[in-house]
Amino acid sequence: MTRLPARLALNLVVALGALLMVAPFVWLLSAITLSSAGIRAGGAFLVPGDQLAHNLSQLFNTTGFGRSLLNSVLISAIFTLLAVAVCSAAGYAFAKFRAWWLSALFGVVIVTLALPGQVTLVPLFKMMVSLGWLNSYQALILPNLALPVGIFLMRQAILSVPDELLDAGRVDGAGEYRIFAQIVLPVVRPSLAALAIFAFLTTWNDFVLPLVVLRDPSSYTVPVEIATMQTVNGTDSISLIMTATAISILPVLGLFLLLQRQFIAGLLGSAVKG
């Protein structure tokens, strides 16, 4: 039907572009197997070295990375669980209940999307100081928990759950809380997954707030640890910085390749459906 040369050319150009997008990952994979000197000599690209084990043991034994990794894992896990609970409950109220104050509240949620979070940086810092929450997990978990994107995503998903389904539950004598937990949530499970992924990404990669409220190195999260290694050590420990970076990408990359559908829905949900 179509001429083969045109088709070949299109595929070639798209493949070249795709290669360009993936190249930094390939470079990183190669860099973590080299020593800092090896990277500085420009050795990284498709040529694996033999320093990976050394880099890993150095990273976990001589820097605070292990502790930071544990902090990040715990904070992100707790945050994700709580955010899913809080945002889906709010999404249910916004989708299936009618009241003027609910509409007004939903307006507030939408406006918050556009306001720059940086304005709240200084006040949040002062709040955490007076609460004695510097270096704490809750200082990172609570401020972002009411995710506007998450609330919006869940509202859109629950809007499409038929009212008849909920009424059927009521006829069977189920209370509102049971209807939510046993009828609504199972139906919107794909959106819950999307929300969970979005919430996980948000905390896992969060940088500014941790940078401000984490003062003690033992409380650092992975991004703060990596940025500190970068500014303090510069290129002397470039192989360790790259190894840390690779490890920080690993869980997210794994999630992405396993759950690509939900992942894309989570990142785009609000934009596409809105």
Binding site: V13, P116, V119, P123, F125, M127, L142, N205, F256, L268
Partner: protein
């Protein structure tokens, strides 16, 4: 949506019997328990800090004593050459980067949507995967890739006889470096948004255009671009808001240098707040930023919406 639900609710209340009214009130109480957590969280960690920041922006902290100074911080802001520099840096990066990203994303989305492409799923994954990387992670990675001494980018450019380019060391190239990093990170995401919207354009429109004798390019201009307009408007506004808050990339890549060429409003706010501990001025910068974001978003909305008609 919001108006229709409120009018509906109002109309419904009038005709409803007392018993239905009681049921409604009970349901409202239930709704309240569902939104209570986010109401508390919004009040404590969003509304209160926003208000508190405004109060702080009217004060000055000298030796631990906070004094009320009225609009002093704001008049300082208007005349601050560094704030203006940060603002103009941000706009320069935005004006280079956003059009490039928009066009690239359109091209990529069109290619990914083409029936002539093999392995569409694989390619879509490849273009989308950069967004997976956290801001600090990709900042650190790009600072190595673009390193003027040993970076792979200069290495590759050297092979085709270009360079060495003083990425990160030169005021102009440092901005370009940040724009390149941002384009790599965000273009695939934008392309996938466009792709999703493209796939929702009715096939009949393309068929009708074919009947009218339109070629591929003409169909793109007359059917695809108008169909994509909502997604394009949204992505332009969101990228602008994102770029105005640019922080992580310059923090990791250049720390605002060289010669403040990559200083952004976010970095400047952070410096004033957490290096000079001038909370009042940092808060004024935050409100200045908010004002600019609101203003630009409104202008973009009006301009882009009008063009639609």
């Amino acid at each position: 949506m919001a108006e229709s639900t409120t009018t509906l609710a109002r109309g419904a209340v009038k005709v409803r019997s007392a018993r239905r009214g009681r049921l409604e009130r009970r349901r409202a109480r239930v709704a309240l328990t569902f939104v209570a957590p986010i109401v508390v969280l919004f009040a404590v960690f969003k509304a209160y800090p926003f208000g508190y920041a405004f109060y702080l922006s009217l004060t000055k902290n000298k030796g631990g004593v906070t004094t009320f100074v009225g609009a002093d911080n704001y008049s300082r802001l208007i005349h601050d050459p560094l704030f203006r520099k940060a603002l103009s840096n941000t706009f320069q990066i935005l004006l280079i980067q956003m059009p490039v990203q928009l066009v690239l994303a359109l091209v990529i989305a069109t290619a990914l949507n083409s029936g002539l492409l093999w392995l569409r799923g694989v390619f879509r994954t490849a273009y989308f995967v950069p967004i997976v990387m956290g801001l600090v992670a990709y900042g650190v990675l790009f600072s190595s890739l673009l390193n003027p001494q040993y970076g792979a980018v200069n290495d590759l450019l050297g092979h085709i006889g270009i360079g060495p380019v003083p990425w990160l060391d030169d005021p102009f190239w440092a901005k370009v470096a940040i724009a390149i990093a941002m384009t790599w990170h965000y273009t695939g995401q934008t392309a996938v948004i466009y792709l999703a919207q493209m796939q929702s354009i009715p096939k009949e429109l393309y068929e009708a255009a074919s009947v009218d004798g339109a070629g591929a390019f003409r169909k793109f201009r007359a059917v695809t671009v108008p169909g994509l307009r909502p997604a394009i408007v949204l992505s332009v506004i969101l990228s602008t808001i994102g770029a105005l808050q640019l922080f992580d990339e310059p923090f990791v890549l250049t720390n605002g240098g060289p010669e403040n060429a990559t200083e952004t409003i976010g970095l400047y706010l952070y410096r004033n707040g957490f290096q000079f501990f001038d909370f009042g001025y940092a808060s004024a910068i935050g409100y200045g930023l908010t004002a600019i974001i609101v203003l630009i978003s409104l202008i973009q909305l009006v301009v882009l919406e009008r063009r639609e008609r």
